[in-house]
């Protein structure tokens, strides 16, 4: 049977997981809407302007990037550039080696997932431990996050308790409070033993050269309180022009992601610690990562670079809710991933082509996006690219016969009448793979061709 990869995954997802992903994404989406409309008279205006600001940034990266670099350097930050995932990994390794460092604690960063930093460092004898609770559980399970903001949305407390027991973190106990307390006790020793703290960046202000980090758990703060060296992995699109734009984007980010007004910890970091401060990094590195972003910038889908990784489009998407995150087989799942993952895949674009078709183009993702990314339009552009590049596809039948019929009125009318024969044919036996795949999960309504024309003809005003 020929079906798309994403459909195959969705079909094998246990009903219990589908239900929990569906219910929790739906609840978060509803709370998001409420909190935005309760707090602002016209929340739509916030996201339209935020979208314009981010679009301005990505279309002016040639001036913003050197400006941000100079600003960071003026605060004593060491700036690195990495064109590829390999270069980014090497840059991190180089900093670790120069310090003789062997232990790293990591706050959540999507870029580190993209470049597969943890397995790379492990190969070189460096322990890089995830400290976000969800990411820590993903790490001990050798699993992958299935949601941008809630990495273990696909796991139950029973599975987590089993993993903790296996890792020697205590006897089986699936109480979420106990799970959290055990992680707290285990991880605080790890922070204190680590040499280097690694984070991402939610925003970088070009005006002041401040890196902004948001977390709820306080793990990034702990990384930057316990270690002497801070490395920030930053995608080149993360810049905001002015400090005041941070107020706008921070107002949108937490509400869109988790329906909070503000995340618990919002950090503004412009360099190594103050001289009077006993704790925290004496050395700070920023690594600007391209890893395919300049290809996206050169494409007609560059708008996707506005994304602030809030996950609102995942929560509202009927496909994500049914398929869950692993079905996207990429670091970025959901609607944003359906656009970004095939683009970042480079030569492996054909492997991810099913993602751009996994959408009914309902537009909900666009409506909730805090930076107003026209995701349905971008999906259409990618479908067009896939067709033009002849990417293999099993979901779309050849349309030649249809085109012939649709361009000849007489043939069309004849087909409307002749189509009645479909009602008597065993359609599931047709030797057309696309038809078989389609019919596996759907039933065709009875053919009623021509009835509308007849009704229209006999209609009197």
């Amino acid at each position: 049977m020929v079906t798309e990869k994403i459909d195959q995954f969705a079909a094998t997802l246990p009903a219990e997981k589908r239900r929990s992903v569906y219910e929790s994404t739906k609840a978060t989406h509803e709370k998001r809407t409420k909190v935005l409309f309760d707090h602002f008279p016209d929340p739509n205006r916030l996201r339209l302007i935020a979208g314009e600001i981010k679009q301005h940034v990505i279309e002016n990266l040639d001036t913003y990037l050197p400006a941000v670099e100079a600003k960071l350097q003026s605060h004593g930050v060491i700036v690195h550039w990495a064109a590829t995932a390999e270069a980014a990994n090497e840059a991190v390794l180089g900093i670790m080696r120069a310090r003789g460092a062997t232990k790293m604690v990591k706050a959540k960063t999507m870029v580190s997932e993209e470049i597969e930093l943890e397995p790379f460092l492990k190969k070189h004898g460096i322990e890089a431990l995830e400290t976000d609770l969800g990411e820590f559980i993903v790490q001990i399970d050798h699993d992958h996050p299935s949601h941008i903001v809630r990495p273990i949305i696909h796991k139950s407390r029973r599975e987590i308790a089993t993993s903790f027991e296996r890792e020697g973190l205590g006897a089986y106990n699936d109480d979420p409070g106990t799970i959290t307390r055990r992680a707290r006790e285990f991880l605080r020793q790890k922070y204190l033993q680590a040499d280097v703290g690694l984070t991402g960046a939610n925003f970088v202000s070009a005006e002041s050269g401040r890196i902004v980090l948001v977390t709820n758990e306080g793990n990034s703060r702990f990384c930057l309180a316990a270690t002497k060296c801070h490395i920030a992995l930053v995608g080149i699109e993360k810049i905001l022009p002015r400090d005041r734009d941070l107020a706008l984007l921070l107002n949108l980010l937490a509400r869109s992601a988790t329906a909070q007004q503000l995340t618990v910890y919002t950090e503004f970091i412009s360099g190594p610690k103050a001289a009077s401060q006993p704790d925290g990094p004496e050395e700070m590195h920023v690594i600007f990562v391209d890893n395919g972003r300049t290809d996206v910038l050169a494409s007609e889908c560059r708008d996707i670079l506005r994304c602030i990784r809030c996950g609102a489009c995942l929560n509202v998407c009927p496909i994500y809710r049914q398929a869950s995150g692993h079905a996207y087989r990429s670091v970025y799942p959901g609607p944003v991933g359906a656009v970004l993952s095939p683009l970042l895949a480079g030569e492996k674009f054909p492997d991810k082509v099913d993602l751009v078709k996994a959408s009914s183009l309902c537009g909900a993702c666009n409506e909730v996006c805090p930076v107003n990314i026209p995701i349905p339009d971008l999906l259409l552009r990618l479908r067009d690219k896939a067709k033009r590049e002849g990417a293999p596809s099993c979901g779309t039948p050849p349309m030649g016969a249809w085109a012939l019929l649709a361009s000849q009125p007489t043939a069309w009318k004849a087909a409307l009448f002749g189509g009645k024969v479909m009602n008597y044919l065993p359609l599931n036996l047709l030797p057309i793979p696309a038809a078989q795949a389609w019919l596996k999960t759907r039933t065709l309504p009875a053919w009623r061709g021509g009835e509308f024309r007849r009704w229209l003809k006999n209609r009197t005003r």
Binding site: L65, R150, R157, T180, N219, L248, Y265, G280, R302
Partner: protein
């Protein structure tokens, strides 16, 4: 690394070269980012008190109440900013052990800590800390109860005003309630890596 810099910048320039016009930077009124409905025309301390409660933080207005709260919770060992302790010491009885140097080899020894805040944000119930006035980053993070001493005149109405006041400190952190997670089945748990109780002592 230099080669990567040139490569990235030249690829950016090449990607943008075909654009006939570049998107302009929009301007907007500061009012856009204010959750005015939350503020109304009430006084800032009233709003701050309401919002900090909603994020499960605690606001106290006198030292005696703080001491009572700590005693009731059984939090008897603490760390205090050395600049604050001379004014606070008289309120704490001999049953408390308070140190003014934070020893990172004994993080779990300290059940509470007291440090200074540089401000607060009314509309979100947020406490603002920075590097120059926080006596110890670890001291302000690792104990179960974190108390910040806050001057009521330093409450900003909204995020925009707080951002305008960031100044030149290398590390400003906004703290909105206790450390929390909902990673396990979406269930809210407080006290993940940082404090399970976040207290603002307004003076």
């Amino acid at each position: 690394m230099t080669a990567d810099r040139e490569q990235i910048l030249s690829r950016v320039r090449a990607a943008l070269a075909p654009l006939p016009v570049r998107a302009a930077l929009p301007d907007y009124d500061a009012e856009l980012t204010v959750a005015r409905k939350l503020l109304g025309d009430r006084d800032l301390l009233t709003v701050f008190a309401e919002r900090i409660k909603l994020v499960n933080g605690l606001l106290l207005t006198d030292v005696a109440a703080l001491v009572g709260h700590l005693r009731a919770g059984g939090w008897m060992r603490g760390y205090c900013d050395p600049l604050l302790w001379p004014q606070l010491a008289t309120h704490f009885g001999p049953e408390f052990t308070v140190e003014t140097v934070f020893d990172r080899t004994r993080v779990d020894h300290f059940a509470f800590s007291i440090t200074r805040a540089v401000g607060a944000i009314a509309e979100t119930g947020t406490i603002i800390l920075n590097d120059r006035t926080t006596a110890s980053r670890l001291g302000a993070l690792t104990p179960w109860v974190h108390v910040t001493v806050l001057d009521r005149a330093a409450i900003y109405p909204d995020l925009g005003h707080a951002i305008a006041a960031l100044g030149d400190d290398p590390n400003v952190i906004w703290v909105t309630g206790p450390s929390k997670t909902a990673d396990v089945e979406g269930i809210l748990i407080e006290g993940v890596h940082g404090p399970g109780q976040q207290i603002a002592l307004v003076v």
